[in-house]
């Protein structure tokens, strides 16, 4: 724990934050634009050229709106919930390697040996924000939203956790940098563990509360679900939390299954110095991540919401046994191969 380590860690934290915050703003923009295009509309195009400054206008609007606290809420929890919803989404980004090296610094905030365990630990905290919001609001729709959310998150986290086990059985390490190293040597893990990927993908839709699994919000049944009673910046925090969750889920999928910052198949272009390689790798990582973000949005504007019991059925009676079988199959395969 020397000064250099502290300095560079702080720099990386600031860097990631400075990158992720605009990304959240612009993924809201992308959501609106893509939804518009899918519905044969043109989408927001008034603020700035082609509406590119719309996120700025949204942000200003959220800041200037009245921050209203209804009289019937449980005040302390009501104020706490948005923060709790927002923080875990950012915390998960700490262990994700978003690039190779620049200078002598590895492009990951915390190169933990138990990266994936940390991630799952933090992700499961995400549910508390929503449940707390539902409880604190002290009215029926947010309450139902909170209940649904907790049930959903618990069911899908299990399947999600089991789904990635084969990946780490193949790699033999829980460190995410090692996972990427393995993939640059052997090819993308999605080719080795396609079923794991499918389960992980679907579960991450459920974990991020995106359609077709947006039970906690489900506008048509629960008004706005757990954030019905929220307005202004507190609502914005939930909103940003959702998108930050999407970003970290995308980053996770890229890291685990799609080679992280490595370029597949193409030989890397000959660049004059190591710095440019570092920048290129970060670019590759972000490009892959954005592809997943687009998939998230695309799916949202295509599928209707699952019914609550169907959701539970899928989680407990399909994915869980399937994921277990998957683990078993890989175990047998590795045993036979060894």
């Amino acid at each position: 724990m020397n000064l250099e380590f502290l300095l560079f860690s702080a720099l990386k934290v600031v860097g990631v934050f400075a990158l992720v915050m605009p990304m959240i703003a612009y993924s809201v923009m992308a959501e609106r634009k893509i939804s518009a295009w899918i519905q044969d509309r043109v989408g927001p195009n008034r603020v700035g050229p082609q509406g590119m400054l719309q996120p700025l206008a949204d942000g200003i609007k959220f800041l200037l709106k009245e921050d209203f606290t209804p009289a019937h809420v449980r005040k302390a929890y009501f104020w706490l919930a948005p923060a709790i919803a927002m923080v875990p989404a950012f915390l998960t980004m700490a262990v994700i390697p978003f690039g190779s090296t620049i200078g002598h610094q590895k492009m990951v905030i915390a190169d933990l040996n138990v990266g994936i365990l940390y991630t799952f630990g933090i992700v499961s905290l995400g549910v508390y924000g929503i449940v707390l919001a539902g409880y604190a609001s002290n009215s029926k729709y947010p309450f139902l939203g909170g209940i649904r959310s907790s049930a959903q998150m618990i069911s899908y986290e299990l399947a999600m956790g089991l789904a990635v086990i084969p990946v780490f059985m193949l790699v033999g390490d829980l460190n995410l940098s090692k996972v990427i190293e393995y993939q640059s040597n052997h090819g993308w893990l999605v080719l080795y563990a396609p079923f794991s990927f499918v389960i992980f993908l679907v579960s991450s839709f459920a974990e991020t509360n995106r359609l077709p699994f947006d039970m906690p919000e489900s506008e048509s049944e629960l008004v706005a679900g757990y954030h019905t009673e929220y307005s202004s910046m507190k609502f914005a925090l939930f909103f940003m939390g959702e998108y930050a969750n999407m970003i970290s889920a995308s980053a996770m999928m890229v890291t685990l299954f799609f080679g992280g910052w490595t370029l597949p198949w193409f030989s890397e272009p000959a660049l004059s110095n190591a710095w440019m390689y570092g920048a290129l790798h970060i670019g590759v990582f972000i490009a892959k991540m954005l592809a997943f973000m687009v998939l998230f949005i695309w799916i949202r504007w295509m599928l209707p919401r699952f019914r609550y019991d169907q959701l539970m059925d899928l989680g407990w009676r399909r994915f869980l046994p399937f994921a277990l079988l998957n683990v078993l199959a890989y175990a047998v395969w590795l045993w036979v191969r060894a």
Partner: protein, 177 residues
């Protein structure tokens, strides 16, 4: 009646084929020509029998056609029209027409654009025109007075020209018009 539902095959029950089909549909729409009309810059063409805001008109010789009979004021369901008749003074600006309105106000906030005023008018003096987005910064501003209504209404090409003919008839019979 009991509808027999077809059993889904294993492949169909996987849910993935329909998912891919859906992605195809949305992708197609993604690139399709957009239907949005960029409203203030781009406006729809108003159909010929459209019932927009009611305005007063002048005829081709510049006479205010309204003769202050107050039928429109009477028929107006939301009581949006208020006419101040001229009294014994007459108030008309041209020859053989006896009366004209002293004041003619339409409260556009009350108007429901039903077109009864146009229908009931014996002089073809009021018409529902093409304007559909009336804006103002106060309630007072939304009460359109006679001058404003006439300016907005413009000229109506009157093919019959009832009052001119009456004058001619009177001249023909040797009576002062």
């Amino acid at each position: 009646m009991i509808v027999k539902r077809a059993e889904l095959s294993f492949f169909e029950r996987l849910y993935l084929p329909t998912l891919l089909g859906g992605l195809k549909v949305t992708a197609r729409h993604f690139f399709r020509k957009k239907v949005t009309m960029q409203y203030p810059e781009q406006k729809w063409t108003v159909p010929p029998n459209y019932r927009g805001a009611p305005y007063l008109v002048k005829d081709q010789v510049g006479r205010t056609k309204c003769v202050s009979c107050q039928l429109c004021e009477f028929v107006c369901p939301p009581k949006a029209i208020r006419i101040t008749p001229p009294g014994p003074a007459g108030g008309s600006d041209s020859g053989n027409v006896e009366k004209g309105p002293l004041e003619f106000d339409i409260n556009m906030l009350r108007c429901i654009f039903c077109g009864f005023c146009q229908e009931v008018c014996p002089e073809e003096a009021i018409f529902l025109m093409n304007d559909y987005s009336l804006t103002g910064t106060s309630r007072q501003e939304m009460i359109y007075d006679k001058d404003k209504l006439l300016a907005l209404g413009g000229v109506h090409q009157d093919r019959i020209q009832k009052w001119k003919r009456k004058a001619q008839e009177a001249l023909h019979q040797g009576v002062a018009p």
